[in-house]
Symmetry: C2
Subunit: 192 residues, 2 copies
Amino acid sequence: MVRWEPGTPERLQRAALELYAERGFEETTAAEIAQSVGLTERTFFRHFSDKREVLFHGQELFARAFLDGVDAVPPDASPLEVVAAALRAATVFFPDERRPYSRTRQSVIDRNPALQERELHKLASLATTLAEALRARGVTEPAATLAAQSAVTVFGIAFGQWIAEGEERSLADIADSVLGELRTVTAGPPTA
Amino acid sequence: MVRWEPGTPERLQRAALELYAERGFEETTAAEIAQSVGLTERTFFRHFSDKREVLFHGQELFARAFLDGVDAVPPDASPLEVVAAALRAATVFFPDERRPYSRTRQSVIDRNPALQERELHKLASLATTLAEALRARGVTEPAATLAAQSAVTVFGIAFGQWIAEGEERSLADIADSVLGELRTVTAGPPTA
């Protein structure tokens, strides 16, 4: 195993999260984040457009992980099989070592409406991207958007459980179980 | 039938939408909206906290319509039956006469990221409120959140179809059909 040696963006990201959690997001400046790891404010802004973005670094890779999962399933897979594969691929992004980081990040986001909006926007974009990928595979509407939104919903719920205090299951196991619950809920008795 | 006589907030709302659609959201001031219906800027701000809010007026009533649907189903109904009833109740809010207004409103929102964030936030709050109502009925997690999120997803897709050019079905009929599609998608072959 290679020891993880963070580059400049990652160092800034960890420093930012620490300060946001300690002092609050509003109370922390980009200059303070940079200084805490011996860098300048200018370096901070070379990597991130603002204080919000530092918490969303790597988000293209996260979306990419979902899409890799989509690409990996055979062309005749059902939309739900595609969703399951996309979820499984995305969970690789969140190994158990990352749980404490993710937990702190979420607690910072939960305390700030602007960050919550950014997070909602991120998840909405992810659903749009996934729906596009499903349509590119020949899935028609509204099935493509329903499957994509369901993937994002399942991911969000699974993620919330994964970072809960005391939770020890892997994100992949939780996501599988939440997807199973979705099947149970929607299979319910025919609508009245 | 009583003819609909709009009050001050409704007049401001229609005037705002007209100006936003004509000139753009950014290019329109609260003073201009008020003036266009013979009112003052001060009156505008007595009813709305800002230019964004004028497009989201009545949103508590919209959430209330969903909750009324939840309350109307028997206690032993499945989460999906509750969702179907909530959707049906909410669609009453959007009679066919409202379609042109809703269409214009959406086109304004689609062109402005700040309004899109507000809309996402509204739908996220609606899902949270619906999940609470389901938990209050004894539905456990994650079924409550899954059902609530699914209701919001189905509503969003159905609404998008309802305001599409040339669409003539009622929102209730479209929502029924999208909910049926969700059942088909999630019933698909067992996950690989």
